[in-house]
C-alpha cells in the first residue's frame, strides 16, 4: 500500500473517531447543562477540545448554544465537527480508490451536511439534542459502513490503528480533565451527577451500574475507564485492539519499522495492563495519564517515520 494512502486512511479514521467522541460528549454535557445550571460548566470541554484563551472561555462558558456553535461549526476551532469532518473527507477524497464507494459516499454526504445551511439553522434555533443525534447517526453510519463494506486488508488495519489510538487518547484526556476538577483528590466528595455524566458521555454508564453496584466512587470510575477490558472505550481495551490490528501489519518487507512500532505498543500496553488504581494513584494520576497520551503520540511518530513518510 502506498505510504500516502496509509497515512490518509489513518488520519481519516482518527478524525472520525474524534468527531464521534466529541459529539457524544457534547450531547451528554448539553443534557447535564439543562439539569443543573449551578454546578455545570462547559469549561472542561472547552479546555480539552477548544483552542480558546481563558478569558474567551469565560465568555462562552455559560451559554450552551454558543458553545455548541463553537464546537460544531466554528471554522477557527481545529476540533470543531465542521473542520474534522472536512478533514476526514479530504483524506478520503485522496484515497477513493482504496476505500469502498459506499464509504466514500457516506463521508461525502456527511461533509455536505456539516456544510449545509440547515445545520446552521438547527444549531441556532432547533433542539440541540436532535441536532447532535442526527450528527451522531452519521458517525454511526460511517462505522457501520466501514465494518460491512471495507475489505479486510492493510488499509482497514491502518484505519483501526488510528481509531484505537485516538480512542485511548480521548478516554485518557476526558478522565484527566474530570480528575483535575477534583485536584486529583480521590476522596473529595462529589455530586453523583458529576460522575454519571462522565460515564454517559463515553457510553459507560450501564456497564458501571452492573459492574460496580456501589454508587459512584472515583476509584471505580478510574478502574473502568482505564482497565476494564470489556468496556470498549477503556484505555486498555483500546490498546489491546491497537495491538491486535498492528500485529496484522507484520511483513517481511518492513521488519525494522514493524519491530520498532510493535515494541512501543507492547510496552505501553503492558504498562497499562499491569497497573491498577492503587499503583497509579501512587505514581500520580495526572502524570500517569499524561504519560499514556505522550506514549501514544510517540507511537504516532514512529508510524509516521516507518510507514507514512513519503516526502
Amino acid at each position: 500500500m502506498l505510504s500516502r494512502v496509509a497515512d490518509s486512511l489513518y488520519w481519516m479514521s482518527r478524525y472520525m473517531e474524534r468527531t464521534d467522541s466529541i459529539l457524544r460528549m457534547l450531547k451528554i454535557n448539553y443534557a447535564s447543562s439543562q439539569d443543573n445550571q449551578d454546578e455545570f460548566s462547559w469549561r472542561p470541554v472547552l479546555r480539552i477540545f477548544g483552542s480558546l484563551e481563558e478569558n474567551e472561555i469565560s465568555k462562552l462558558d455559560e451559554n450552551s448554544r454558543s458553545v455548541l456553535q463553537y464546537m460544531v461549526l466554528d471554522r477557527e476551532n481545529q476540533n470543531s465537527v465542521y473542520n474534522m469532518v472536512t478533514l476526514a473527507r479530504e483524506n478520503a477524497r485522496g484515497v477513493q480508490d482504496n476505500i469502498t464507494v459506499e464509504l466514500w459516499k457516506c463521508l461525502n454526504e456527511f461533509y455536505h451536511i456539516v456544510r449545509g445551511d440547515r445545520l446552521i439553522y438547527a444549531i441556532q434555533h432547533g433542539d440541540p439534542i436532535t441536532v447532535l443525534d442526527t450528527l451522531i447517526k452519521e458517525c454511526t453510519l460511517y462505522f457501520g459502513v466501514t465494518d460491512i463494506t471495507m475489505f479486510r486488508g492493510e488499509g482497514l488495519c491502518f484505519m483501526r490503528v488510528g481509531k484505537y489510538m485516538e480512542r485511548a487518547i480521548q478516554s485518557a484526556e476526558i478522565l484527566d480533565i474530570k480528575l483535575s476538577d477534583l485536584s486529583y483528590d480521590l476522596d473529595k466528595p462529589t455530586d453523583t451527577a458529576y460522575w454519571k455524566y462522565l460515564l454517559m458521555s463515553i457510553s459507560g454508564y450501564s456497564l458501571y451500574l452492573k459492574r460496580y453496584q456501589s454508587g459512584f466512587e472515583a476509584r471505580n470510575i478510574i478502574d473502568q475507564v482505564l482497565f476494564n477490558v470489556d468496556f470498549p472505550r477503556s484505555v486498555l481495551y483500546s490498546l489491546n485492539q491497537l495491538h491486535r490490528y498492528f500485529e496484522r501489519l507484520r511483513s517481511d518487507k518492513n521488519i525494522e519499522g514493524f519491530s520498532k512500532v510493535q515494541f512501543s505498543i507492547g510496552k505501553l500496553r503492558s504498562k497499562v495492563q499491569y497497573s491498577n488504581v492503587q499503583s497509579v494513584s501512587n505514581i500520580g494520576l495526572h502524570h500517569y495519564l499524561n504519560e499514556i497520551t505522550t506514549d501514544i503520540d510517540d507511537i504516532g511518530s514512529s508510524l509516521n517515520q516507518y510507514y507514512f513518510a513519503y516526502s
Partner: protein, 482 residues
C-alpha cells in the same frame, strides 16, 4: 404525435443542423425518446433534473473551486435529454477516427525518428521546430509498440448539412471520459427502462479496454506488471475522473510525491518499502512531468522519470511530446498525413483553417475577421480565442496586435455553426449547440472506440463555445445498436 408542452415552441435555428428535427419532423432515431419525454409532465422533468444534481453531489462527482481559502464543490452541468447517434453515423465516425489516429501515430513516430514527412516537404519543417510541444528530448526514443497516442479525445462538430468535421485532435491528456460513464449511470437512475427500450450500446467496457492496453505496454518480463495512474492531486479539476478511472481499473492512484526514481527505474513508496512501477497512465502534462528536464519549478512530477522512460524501464501513457501532433497549425496537415502514410482519402473532414504565419492567409483573415474564429495554436479549454462575430472593435484591435507579435502561434477558422440538440432549460426543450468527443483507445491490438463519448453543450443561448470553463455542460451520449 402532436407536439406536447415540452417541445412546443421549439425554435428551429436557420442554417443549422438540428439533431432531433428534420425541418418540422422528428428524426426517426429520436422518436422514441421524444414520445417518452413528452409523456412526462414538465414539472416531473424538473424533479428529475434535481435528482440528477443531487446524485452528482452525493457521489462526489464534483470539482472544487477554491475561493478565499474555502473549497466549494461544483458539479459539471448535466442536461437530462440524451444526445442520440445512429448506428450508421457511428460507423462512419468509428472508421474516420481510426483512420485519423493511425496516421497521427505514424506521424509522431516519424517526426521523432527519420522525419520522412518533413524531408518530403509534406509538413513544413519550421512548423515542427517552432512548436513548443515538439520535444527534442524525445528525438530517437523508442516507445513500446511505436504507439504514441494511447488515448485520444478527438473533437467532432457538425456543420449545417450534418457533415462531421474534426475540430481538434486531443492527443495529450484528453479528459472527460468519466462523464461518458457517469452520465450514463445518471440516465439509468432518472429515466428507468429508457436505455434498454432504445437499444443503446453500453460504455462500461472502457476501463477494461484501457487496462488491458496498459498492461500490454509493460516493458519488463514481469508476471504482474504494476500499472499506476499519476494525478496532479486533489486540487486538479479532473481529480474525480482520476479516482474513478483508478478505481474502475483497480490500479493505484499516485501523485508525484509517491514516486521516486532510482537507477533509472521508477518506484512507488509503500508501507513495505519501494515497489517498482512498470506502466504510468499520467494525467500530468509533459512540461510538469520531470523537473530535471522540463519545468524545474514543477512539484507535480517526478525527478528523473524522463531518464527511466528513455531507458525503456517504464512505459508512459500518452507518450511524451504528442503535443506536436495536436498543434492547431499542424492540424492543417492531418489530411495530407493520411494521404501520405496510408494512401487513403480522409473520411473525416478538417475545418478550413488559415495559418496566420502565411502572409496571404493572414491578410485574408484580418480583412474578414468578423466571420472568423481566431485561436492560439497551443491553447485549450476555450481560452484565448477571438470570436470575430461577437467581439468589440477594441478586442479585435488588441487581438490583432497579439497576432502580429508571433503569427505562428495563431490560426483562424470560419465560424462553423455547430449542430443543435434539444436541452431541458427552464421547463422547456430549447436548442443548444453541441459537439462530440469520442474516446479512442489504441493498443498493440489496434484501435478501439467505445460507442459513446462526451457530448458537450454550450448552455448559454446562442453560444458556440462548449468548453466547461466557458459555461458548458454535458449530455449522456447514446449510440444506437440498430
Amino acid at each position: 404525435m402532436k407536439a406536447t408542452e415540452l417541445f412546443q415552441k421549439y425554435p428551429l435555428i436557420g442554417n443549422t443542423w438540428d439533431e432531433m428535427y428534420d425541418e418540422e419532423k422528428v428524426r426517426l432515431h429520436y422518436q422514441n425518446v421524444y414520445d417518452s419525454l413528452s409523456s412526462i409532465p414538465p414539472d416531473e422533468l424538473g424533479k428529475k433534473e434535481e435528482l440528477a444534481k443531487s446524485l452528482f453531489m452525493s457521489q462526489g462527482i464534483t470539482f472544487t473551486v477554491y475561493s478565499s481559502g474555502e473549497g466549494i464543490e461544483k458539479i459539471f452541468p448535466f442536461d437530462i435529454i440524451p444526445r442520440i447517434i445512429t448506428a450508421a453515423e457511428w460507423d462512419f465516425i468509428d472508421r474516420g477516427i481510426k483512420q485519423r489516429l493511425t496516421a497521427l501515430n505514424l506521424f509522431l513516430k516519424d517526426v521523432y525518428h527519420q522525419q520522412f514527412i518533413l524531408k518530403d516537404g509534406i509538413v513544413p519543417i519550421d512548423l515542427i521546430y517552432s512548436c513548443p510541444h515538439y520535444l527534442r528530448e524525445m528525438q530517437g526514443v523508442n516507445v513500446p509498440h511505436d504507439i504514441y497516442v494511447h488515448i485520444a479525445g478527438i473533437d467532432l462538430i457538425r456543420d449545417h448539412d450534418g457533415t462531421f468535421y474534426v475540430l481538434e485532435d486531443n492527443l495529450r491528456t484528453p479528459s472527460g471520459v468519466s462523464y461518458m460513464i457517469e452520465n450514463r449511470e445518471i440516465t439509468k437512475r432518472i429515466f428507468p427502462d429508457l436505455i434498454p427500450q432504445n437499444h443503446v450500446r453500453p460504455v462500461t467496457q472502457y476501463p477494461n479496454i484501457l487496462y488491458k492496453n496498459l498492461l500490454a505496454l509493460s516493458p519488463g518480463q514481469v508476471s504482474a506488471p504494476n500499472v499506476v495512474l499519476l494525478t496532479p492531486g486533489i486540487y486538479n479539476s479532473a481529480y474525480f475522473e482520476h479516482t474513478t478511472l483508478a478505481r474502475l481499473m483497480g490500479i493505484e492512484l499516485v501523485e508525484g510525491r509517491d514516486l521516486v526514481v532510482e537507477n533509472q527505474k521508477v518506484y512507488m513508496k509503500t508501507t513495505s518499502g519501494l515497489q517498482q512501477v512498470d506502466v504510468i497512465y499520467r494525467r500530468v502534462d509533459d512540461e510538469y512531468l520531470d523537473p530535471l528536464v522540463f519545468n524545474p519549478e514543477s512539484v507535480l512530477g517526478v525527478s528523473g522519470i524522463m531518464s527511466a522512460y528513455r531507458k525503456g524501464n517504464v512505459a508512459i501513457v500518452n507518450a511524451i511530446g504528442n503535443g506536436v501532433a495536436d498543434d492547431k497549425a499542424i492540424y492543417v496537415y492531418v489530411p495530407d498525413m493520411i494521404r501520405y502514410y496510408l494512401n487513403e482519402e480522409p473520411l473525416l473532414k478538417n475545418v478550413p483553417t488559415y495559418q496566420l504565419s502565411k502572409m496571404d492567409e493572414r491578410e485574408h483573415v484580418l480583412k474578414n475577421i468578423t466571420k472568423m474564429v481566431v485561436k492560439k495554436t497551443n491553447g485549450s479549454g476555450g481560452y484565448g480565442m477571438l470570436m470575430g462575430h461577437s467581439a468589440t472593435d477594441r478586442e479585435i484591435n488588441d487581438y490583432q496586435l497579439e497576432i502580429l507579435k508571433d503569427p505562428r502561434q495563431f490560426i483562424a477558422q470560419p465560424v462553423i455553426s455547430l449542430s443543435n440538440a434539444p436541452c431541458y432549460v427552464n421547463g422547456k426543450a430549447q436548442p443548444r449547440r453541441i459537439d462530440l468527443r469520442p474516446f479512442a483507445l489504441c493498443g498493440p491490438g489496434g484501435i478501439e472506440i467505445v460507442p459513446g463519448g462526451l457530448t458537450r453543450v454550450a448552455l448559454k443561448e446562442g453560444s458556440l463555445v462548449v468548453n466547461s470553463s466557458q459555461g458548458g455542460g454535458s449530455k449522456d451520449t447514446w449510440v444506437l445498436a440498430q
